[in-house]
Symmetry: C2
Subunit: 348 residues, 2 copies
């Protein structure tokens, strides 16, 4: 297949391909036994992300099972803070934790000059995945590279871990806006480099995940979500003008329209709280939508899954659209429900 | 003062009172040293909620300090599950936890006949607070009674505690919708009784808190948030037609307009993620808005607080409006910032 004819790339150029291409956020993950087997071989999560052979293998696993229209680079949004020199530690039974970054000295110590060398293994993974897709005959599957968006990455860097209200990072943004802006600026510049490197290595689409965008009041949403995304998009248009960009400003809600207009992204991921018909009206005809099945409807399967798919497909028919979940697939998802989902979507 | 002339009641009848009345969600709480002193006298949190003398005292504390335009009954949304017979336990350092309710037998065992007797101390608190406000000269302060909305209360009942994704309760809603509907129906009926009792005891306004409304996809938002709220409002219009109703469907976002139109509430609380000008446009001129300063802007104080207030007051001028936070005040809030907030709002 001519790479330009891959279904996901056609959709991202604005063609209403039907049935729509499908992939799932976090599709290479713990719901797959073959993933858990590989994960057990790596000392920790970052070791897996920076081992190109293993990271390539887990990236390809869901494609072999479900022939998804996209493979997404197996990596983590914490790779960038790690590459900038913020340490990472592991607590038993938890994910990685970062030593919280809360003062000017800590932020000044972040070193963009370290990034290129640190993320070299990730670029090797990108090359291996492109070669692997071709070697294994997945000629229609598009490789997506990604990064965390500056605000969401800053959340983890300042808190040191996940949080329910992100009081520390939001306290820093209110209490010392100049310092917080410096952190966001550092991350914005590093994210451009990191994504452009992925495109150079062979990523055919780039995606920006802003998981925690929705917790911000409108003024901060503009400053820390929209502005950095707009700068990243502008810079990438110069560095890799042919690579489409998908953004996922989770729970943007009433800010979704302003987000897509101000950033100029090609496509936007929609979380499960937003009706796709409403999203279509908000973003207009020129922005591609991606989403938005509730991951818990996929866990439930049966009627919940059928209803969930039926709430999306008919309203997206005729538009350029990428089927996905509204958030990452969860570990307790039965594999046969994923199979059923792909059947439902491919039946259009 | 003629009770009908209290500023909050005038606003809730549609008058654009200026400067607007102000109160804060969770205003009787841990940021106040006098609250912490009383809290230390009670064995546990439910003991405090069901001790009318102590609950009245903490309800009045923030009125004495800040002369807020509303006192809100000191209670907890878990009072209703407790009154229905679901047990409550306390873990050191955590709030109350419930034995998770996940099957038909557990839901069938909930006993609405227990509620009236169990919540009798809460009604005594309502009477004491009304008398206390009058005795202490707070003739302009309105007493608000409240309950958790069925979906949010069900979240805690099924999970047993707070959660980030509420996978258990949402799994139940997808996996056994009939059973989950029975739980929601039980809670809806009990909430009507509980709120009507509060109105009979002297609550002048009733408020329904749906803290977790925003996590639901639109179809479930309609079924578990809008429908129960609409039924509660209809029933209360019969039971206590003169008592205005405020709802707080937190993070409703794009569903806010449908919520207010379908439920017929008098006023709606707006969380900090929504621009008040946008909220005003969405709800139209006949629904009163309440909100929406970010509680973390109040923690930060200074310029963050001034900016936050300035993003709200000028756009609400001329409408019936109640100043509040976008979520509950947090324990680390400096008291002098609350004082400054009341000065800013009262300067209009």
């Amino acid at each position: 297949m001519d790479p330009m004819n891959k279904p996901l790339l056609r959709v991202l150029r604005g063609e209403p391909v039907w049935p729509p291409p499908i992939w799932l956020m976090r599709q290479a993950g713990r719901y797959l036994p073959e993933y858990r087997a590989i994960r057990a071989q790596a000392a920790d999560f970052i070791a897996l992300c920076t081992n190109p052979a293993l990271a390539c293998e887990v990236t390809l696993q869901p494609i072999r099972r479900f022939r998804f229209d996209a493979a997404i680079l197996f990596s983590d949004i914490l790779i960038l803070p790690w590459a900038l020199g913020q340490g990472l530690a592991y607590k038993e039974g938890e994910g990685p934790v970062l030593p919280p970054l809360r003062d000017a000295a800590g932020i000044a110590a972040l070193d963009p000059a370290r990034v290129a060398a640190a993320v070299a293994p990730v670029m090797q993974t990108v090359r291996l995945v492109r070669a692997g897709l071709e070697a294994e005959g997945f000629a229609a599957t598009t490789l997506i590279g990604f990064a965390g968006a500056p605000f969401t990455v800053a959340c983890y860097m300042v808190e040191g871990h996940g949080s329910r209200d992100f009081a520390a990072v939001r306290g820093l943004a209110y209490g010392d806006p100049a310092l917080f802006a410096r952190l966001i600026d550092t991350l914005t510049a590093a994210t451009v480099e990191y994504l452009a490197m992925q495109a150079d290595a062979g990523a055919e689409v780039l995606m920006l995940f802003d998981t925690w965008a929705g917790i911000l009041p409108p003024s901060q949403f503009r400053e820390y979500v929209i502005e950095p995304a707009a700068r990243i998009v502008r810079a990438l248009r110069v560095r890799c003008p042919d690579v489409p960009i998908i953004a996922f400003p989770r729970l943007a809600g009433l800010m979704l329209g302003e987000f897509v207009r101000a950033t100029g992204v090609d496509a936007v991921g929609v979380d499960a709280s937003t009706d796709m018909a409403v999203a279509a009206e908000i973003v207009g005809p020129s922005v591609v939508l991606q989403g938005n099945l509730d991951p818990l409807a996929l866990v439930a399967g049966g009627q919940a899954l059928e209803n969930g798919v039926r709430a999306i497909l008919p309203v997206m028919r005729g538009r350029p659209f990428v089927f996905n979940l509204g958030h990452g697939i969860v570990p307790q998802t039965p594999i046969e429900h994923v199979t059923r989902l792909t059947e439902l979507v491919r039946a259009g």
